[in-house]
Symmetry: D2
Subunit: 342 residues, 4 copies
C-alpha cells in the first residue's frame, strides 16, 4: 500500500506530530510506503513530492511547522485541478491519501472522496478550535498557553503604570482563544466575535477595575466587532495581495478607551507568535493520536472519514462534517466568564 | 449564606484558581460570605480559619500551591473527629462546605454529607488524573507539560553521549503522567503501574534504539513494577515517619539496563517539581470552571455532589463516585503507544 | 537610620528583586527602617508612602513589576518640586534615599545629591541596556529571552509559508535587544537605531535567504530608521497625550518588502510583553546584588553613587555618570553579526 | 584552508551555536572547508568524520547537544594516541583544529599545540562555570535558569505542606550553579563545595525559616560536603564502570534534617535536565560569539589560544590557561548571599 500525506492551510503546532504518528504506525505495523506531497494541494497538483519514511520523521515531534510545507492552494479554483490531482496520484500509485488541514483543505478531500471515489482520510487542523466535529483541535492549546503567558507578563506592566493593556489574540470567527486565554490569564474584559461589544460597557468595566486600584487587561479576539459598526477599518486593511486584514480592533479599542476614560491604554497584537514553535504536551499527544487513528482508518479501508476528539476518545466522523458547521462560543460559556469582568 | 472552603491532600497547580472561582462568583453574584479553613480538614477540626473574600483572592490565579494551606489530616482517624467538625462548623455558622481534594479529602466530605447531613460540595483534585468520574483533573496537564519539557531536554544529553536516560515521573497507581509525557516527549519506552514490565523486553527496546543510532529515553511511573518481583526496595524505602517510599524504580531500572546491555544509563527523578508552580492555561481554565460550578451547586442546594469534566462540559456526579473507582490506563491506550517503543 | 526607597520610569523585570535585596540586608544586618515611596518621584513629592519591611518583601523576588508602583513624574518639571521633596523627606525623617530608575529618575537623584546635599544612592534600570556605566542592566536579559523565544516560534511559521516575518522589538535609541535577540534567534536581518538601514539591501538579504529555500526573519528595533528618511509615520503616530509613538517601523518595513520583493511579509510587534512578568535568573541575580550593594553604599555613607556591573563585579560610579552618555551598539559588534545576514 | 572541529566532554547547551558560528564565518567570509570529527578526540583518533558545511549547520542554533557527538575519550591515555591523531589530521589535510570542550579536551589541545606544533584553537565549555580564564562559560546560564525555575515550582509545594525541600544541583568542585540559582530562586540555604557545611547550622536556618511561617528551600551543590566527614556514601556510589558517583548529598541531607528538626524533608535531584535542551538567549549569544572569534584566531594564525569572555568583550588567552586554575566561588560572594539564609 502506498499512502500520500499532505498538510494544507496555516501553520499550526502539532502538524509534524500527526505526520510522525501516521508514518511510524503505517510503516512499522502495516508495512506501508509513504509519499509526502509538498505545500498542501499544490503537491499533488504539480506532482511535487518529498521522501517520507521513518528516518524522515525522526526528531520532528517537538518541532513546530510542517516538514511537508503548506500552502493555501485550492485545486477547486484551479482549472482542471481535480483531474490533474487524480492523474498525479495515479502516477505516484497512491492508494490512499491523508489530508491534514482546515475547512478548505478538508473540503477538497471531501469532494475528492465523495465525487471522485478517491480514498481519503482527513485530520482536522485549526488553531482557532472552531470545528464542531471535535472537542479540540491540536495547536489550540499551544496558542492558549502562549497568549496566557503573554497576559501574565502584561499584568505587571499594567499594574506598575496603572494603564489599560489591550491584548489582541487570534480568532476571526470564533472567540475560543480569547475566552480560554482570557480566563486563564485573569483578564478583566474578554471580547469575542460571536457577540458584538458595547464600547461604553467595556469602558465601565475598565473604570470599575481602576476603582479597586488595579489595572485592567482587555483580551480581544481579532474578529471581535463593536455593536454599532462604529469601528473604521484602517487604510491598510487589505494586504498587498488584496486580502482583507482583520487586524486593527485592538488598536482601535485602545484609542477609544483612552478617549472615553482618560486613562492611558496600550495594545499588544500577539499575531503569528501564537501559531509557531514547539507544541504543548497536550497538542503533541492529541496530534500523535490523530495520526495513529488516521492510518488505522486507511488500514481498515474506512475512507471519507475524519478523526476527531470526543472526551478522551478518538472517534471518526464523515469528512463532510469537517466543513459543515463552525463551532462558535456558546453564549452560556461566555456569560459564565462574565463574572470576572470589571 | 456563609460558605466554608478547604483544600486537602498534596499540592496541585490550580488549587488557587478553584478558590478564586468559588469566591468571585459566590461573593459577587450570590452575595455569600466565605470562611477559609486552614490546612484541609485540620481547619474545621481545630477551628483554624483564615479570611476569605474578594481582596484575598486577587492575584492568586497564576500561583501554585494553595492560600488555604493543606494537610493530610483525616478526621475519620481522629477520635471524635466528625463531631468536632460539626461543632466548629456550627460555631462558624457555616451553611455549606466546599472541599477541594483527592480521594481521602472527598471521602470525608462524602461521609459528612451522607451520614451527617452536612451540606457539602466536592471539587476533585489529583495530579495523577486517576479519578474515574472526570475526564481530567486540574494539575495533571501542568505535570505532563513539566515532564515533557524535561524529556525534551534529556533527549539531547542521551544523543550526545549515546546513553540510556531513565526518567521517573509521578504516578503510584496509574500511569497517566508517564503515558502522556512519554508520548509527548517521544520516549522510546513507557512503563506504567497498570502493567508489570519485563526487564528483558525493556532491554531489547533499548538495544534496538541504539541500533538505529539513537539513544533511548525510558519514562517510568514511580509505581511501575517489574514482572517477577525481582526489584529489591532500597533500605531507605521508608521515610522518617515510617511511610513506604515508592521511589527507586528509576534508579533500579537504570542499573539493570547497564548490567544487561552494557550501555551507560542514568536516572532523573522529577519528583516534586511536577506538582508545584504556576498552572498551565488548561489547568487554570479547568480549575476556574470547577470553582464556578461548585458554587453554583451550593446556590442551587445541590449538595453531596462533585463537579467533573466530561468532554468540554462541567457536570455533577455524586460525591461518593469520587472515591468509588480508580481510573487506570486502559490497556488499549497503552498498546496504542507501543508503536513508538524501541 | 531611616531609608527611603522609590522606583521610577518604565516597568522592568527585577525591580522587586532590588527592593528585596535592599530591605533584607538593610533591616537584618544594619537594623535600618525603610519607607517606600509610591510611584517614583510622585511619592516624595506628595508624601505618599507605603510600608516597607521584611514581611512586605517576602515572595516578591520572582514577580514582575514593582510593589512600590512607578510613574514618570519629574519633580524638576513641577513647580517647587525639589523643595517639596526635601520637606517631605524631612517630615518622614529620611536620612538616605535609594532611587531605582533610568536616566530621568537618576538625573533627579543626581541633582538632589549634588545641589541639595541629599544623601542619595542610585540603582540603574533600563530594559534597553543603553547605560554606559554598567555592562548590563537588569530586565535586559529577560527581554532578550522573551524576544528570542518569539523569534524561535516565528521561524516555523516563516518556513511553513515561505513568508518574510518582521519582528519589531524594543529599543528607541539603542539596538541591544535587537542585536542580542536577533543573534540568539538566528535572525537573517537585524536593524538597529545606531545605523540607518537601506531598504534595498534588506530586500537583497531577504531574497538571498529565499534562494537557499529558507524564509527570512527580520528583527528590527523600534527606533531603527531607513536611510533616506523615506519612512512616512502613520497618522496615529501621536498618542492621546500628544507624545510621539515611535512604533510603526516594523509594519512599514513589511509593506516595503512586499512591494519590492513580491514576497508575503508579516509583522509582529512584541511590545510590552518584553518588559513584564517574572525576571530571568540572570536578572534576579543582578538585581538582587544591585540591591545588596546599594544598601552597603548607604551603610558606608558613600552617597551620590550608583551601583554598576563590571565583568562579574558590582562597582560604584558617580550618580552623574548614569545620565552622562548613552551606550549604543558598537559598529564593530554590529558588523560581527552581519555574517548571519541574508 | 581545511579546518577540523570537534566537541568533547559532557553535554552543554550552546555547543551547536559555537559550531554554527565557526562554520558560517569560516565558510562565508574566509572560504574555508571544514571537517567535523565525531565524538570528541575519538574522531581524529579513529579518523571518524562527518560532513560540516553551511547546510549542515542550518537550524542547529536553538538545539541542545552537539551535531558532532561527544565522548570523554582521552588520547593521552591511549597508546600512541597523539601520533595517530597527527597522522589522521594529516590524512584529512587539516591545517587547523578547533577543539570545543572542558579541562580534559582543551588539555589535549594544549599539548598538541605546545609539544607537537599542531595549530589548535580552543573554545571553553563547562556547564559548571569553573574556568578562571573567562567570566562565564556557555551552558551555565541555561543550567541556572532551569534550576531557578525548578526552585520556583518547589516553593509552592514547600509552603503548602510546610516541608523542607532540598534541591541538589550540579557542581562537583564549584558552587556557581547552586549560588546563582539559589539567589535567583530565593533559597533559604545554599551549600557549595568550596565551604564544608555544618548540619547543625543548616538545621538552625531551617527552623528559623519555619518560625516565620514559611517553609525552607535548601539548594545544595552535588559536590558539597558536611564539615565532619560524617556523610556516609551510599553503597551504589560507584557506577557500573567503577566511577565514583558524587550524588547523594541531597538525600543524605534531607534525612539528617528530618532526624534533627522533626520536620518532613524531601529531595529533588535535578540531574541531567540541567545540561540538555535548548540554550538560553545569553548562552546562544555567548556561544555564537565564541565561534566567530575562534575562527578569527584561525584566520589570523593565532594558535595555541582559547577564546574567553571578559565583561562584554571576547578576548584570547593561552590555551594552557584553560586548565591552569579552577574558578571557585569567592568566599566574599558566598558571604554576600548569606543575608538570605534562614
Amino acid at each position: 500500500m502506498r499512502v500520500g500525506v499532505l498538510t494544507g492551510g496555516g501553520d499550526c503546532p502539532g502538524l509534524n506530530a500527526v505526520i510522525r504518528g501516521v508514518v511510524r504506525k503505517g510503516a512499522q505495523e502495516y508495512g506501508y510506503d509513504f509519499v509526502g506531497f509538498r505545500d498542501g494541494w499544490r503537491g499533488p497538483l504539480e506532482n511535487d513530492t518529498v521522501r517520507l519514511d521513518i528516518p524522515a520523521v525522526r526528531g520532528i515531534l517537538p518541532r513546530g511547522g510542517t516538514i511537508l510545507g503548506s500552502s493555501r492552494t485550492n485545486p477547486l479554483k484551479v482549472s482542471d485541478g481535480i483531474r490533474r490531482i487524480k492523474d498525479n496520484l495515479a502516477k505516484q500509485e497512491i492508494q490512499a491519501l491523508i489530508a491534514i488541514g482546515g475547512e478548505d483543505t478538508l473540503g477538497v478531500a471531501a469532494r475528492l472522496s465523495d465525487e471522485y471515489g478517491m480514498p481519503c482520510v482527513g485530520v482536522p487542523k485549526t488553531i482557532d478550535n472552531d470545528l464542531s466535529a471535535t472537542d479540540y483541535t491540536f495547536g489550540f492549546d499551544t496558542a492558549v498557553n502562549i497568549a496566557t503567558e503573554a497576559i501574565d507578563r502584561l499584568h505587571t506592566t499594567a499594574e506598575s503604570h496603572m494603564r489599560v493593556l489591550v491584548v489582541e489574540v487570534m480568532g476571526r470567527h470564533a472567540g475560543w482563544i480569547a475566552l480560554h486565554s482570557g480566563l486563564a490569564g485573569g483578564a478583566n474584559v474578554i471580547l469575542i466575535p460571536e457577540q458584538r461589544f458595547d464600547v461604553g460597557q467595556v469602558c465601565e468595566w475598565v473604570t470599575s477595575r481602576f476603582r479597586s486600584s488595579y489595572a485592567p487587561i482587555v483580551v480581544v479576539a481579532e474578529g471581535a466587532m463593536p455593536k454599532d459598526g462604529e469601528m473604521v477599518l484602517k487604510d491598510d486593511s487589505r494586504d498587498s495581495f488584496g486580502h482583507v486584514r482583520l487586524s486593527g480592533v485592538g488598536e482601535w479599542l485602545a484609542k477609544e478607551i483612552e478617549k472615553r476614560t482618560g486613562k492611558e491604554a496600550r495594545t499588544t497584537v500577539l499575531g503569528h507568535v501564537q501559531r509557531g514553535g514547539t507544541p504543548s504536551a497536550f497538542d503533541r499527544w492529541l496530534a500523535t493520536r490523530f495520526g495513529l487513528h488516521a492510518i488505522d482508518c486507511v488500514h481498515e479501508g474506512d475512507f471519507g472519514r475524519m478523526v476527531a476528539l470526543r472526551g478522551t476518545d478518538i472517534v471518526r466522523v464523515p469528512l463532510t462534517e469537517a466543513t459543515a458547521r463552525l463551532k462558535t462560543v456558546d453564549p452560556k460559556l461566555y456569560q459564565e466568564a462574565g463574572v470576572f469582568f470589571g
